[in-house]
Symmetry: C2
Subunit: 183 residues, 2 copies
């Protein structure tokens, strides 16, 4: 390479972190947190600010607040996107972060990375109209459009490697134990 | 009941929709969509506005835009919450919407519904530090605190029924097929 790719990802720091955490697994144990408050109807607001990691309490720079609701065609107030749409936000952004990180590591300069995500959902499940229909997505499709100093094959390899390491891709394609309790 | 519970959920409309969709499964096929744009580093922005359902194109009242990034301790810019935290936003809001809906259907007046969600995450997986560690959450715990005109047993039953019908709970606890392609 005659020019150095700069996608704004500090890959050196990530590679160093990987080496450090190999010998310090306890520091790699993170806890991400959200706190939710019912507003009215099916509208709620969810706050995120602090989390635990690297052995101590951590904070995002600012507190983020997200509204979730159902659309008007469900006789609701549409004061925010639906809960299941938040999964698409997480999936798209996780895979995009991965593409940028892998590209940086491989010395590939990105110019633009866009994606569309589509989640197919048969709402008879959650409505209880048909017990054979699952509540969640039937399937999800992500389509990337990437402009980079790389061949199509190299771009496809970026996306494949991002998928392989994606936290959200794993969380959606494999089961996770979720416990729900009343305090 | 001498007073009528009002949690702001139009349960009658939902019950009618359930009956209508039993005989019109094609109308129940929804497609939720997100479009993502890489900003810089691992920062991306994701837009949500339109979706397909009830046989035609639909729109949220307003377009919503969400930023995702990694925190400063990952040598990133923290211009938004992390992608995996968006899954917690979806989970908390989906279960909360369910609690409100089920309470309305059962004639239970809610006064407040709060929840905290904690997702345990060993980041060695996504960093590639240990191939035996998964990329996503190890497990997720949701804890509700609910003030309502109901016994503890009734409140626990509300939460259990919400979980049973939750789209996001299903999406996280059961596998979904996700395909990722380059256009």
């Amino acid at each position: 390479m005659t020019t150095v790719a700069d996608n704004g990802v500090n890959v050196q720091a990530l590679l160093e972190a990987r080496e450090v955490l190999k010998g310090a697994p306890e520091a790699a144990q993170f806890t991400w947190r959200a706190s939710s408050k019912w507003e009215n109807g099916v509208h709620s607001s969810v706050k995120i600010q602090n989390f635990f990691g690297l052995g101590e309490e951590q904070n995002h720079k600012t507190e983020a607040v997200f509204d979730a609701d159902h659309p008007e065609i469900f006789a609701a107030t549409d004061n925010g996107i639906t809960p299941i749409e938040y999964l698409l936000v997480g999936l798209a952004s996780c895979l995009t972060a991965g593409v940028a990180s892998v590209a940086q590591n491989r010395g590939i300069q990105l110019r633009s990375v866009e994606s569309t995500v589509e989640g197919a959902h048969d709402i008879r499940g959650m409505l209880g109209a048909d017990s054979d229909v699952r509540n969640g997505f039937n399937d999800v499709k992500v389509t990337f459009t990437i402009d980079a100093d790389a061949s199509r094959q190299e771009i496809e390899a970026l996306v494949a490697q991002s998928q392989k390491r994606s936290a959200v891709f794993d969380a959606l394609t494999n089961p996770t134990n979720v416990t729900v309790e009343v305090a």
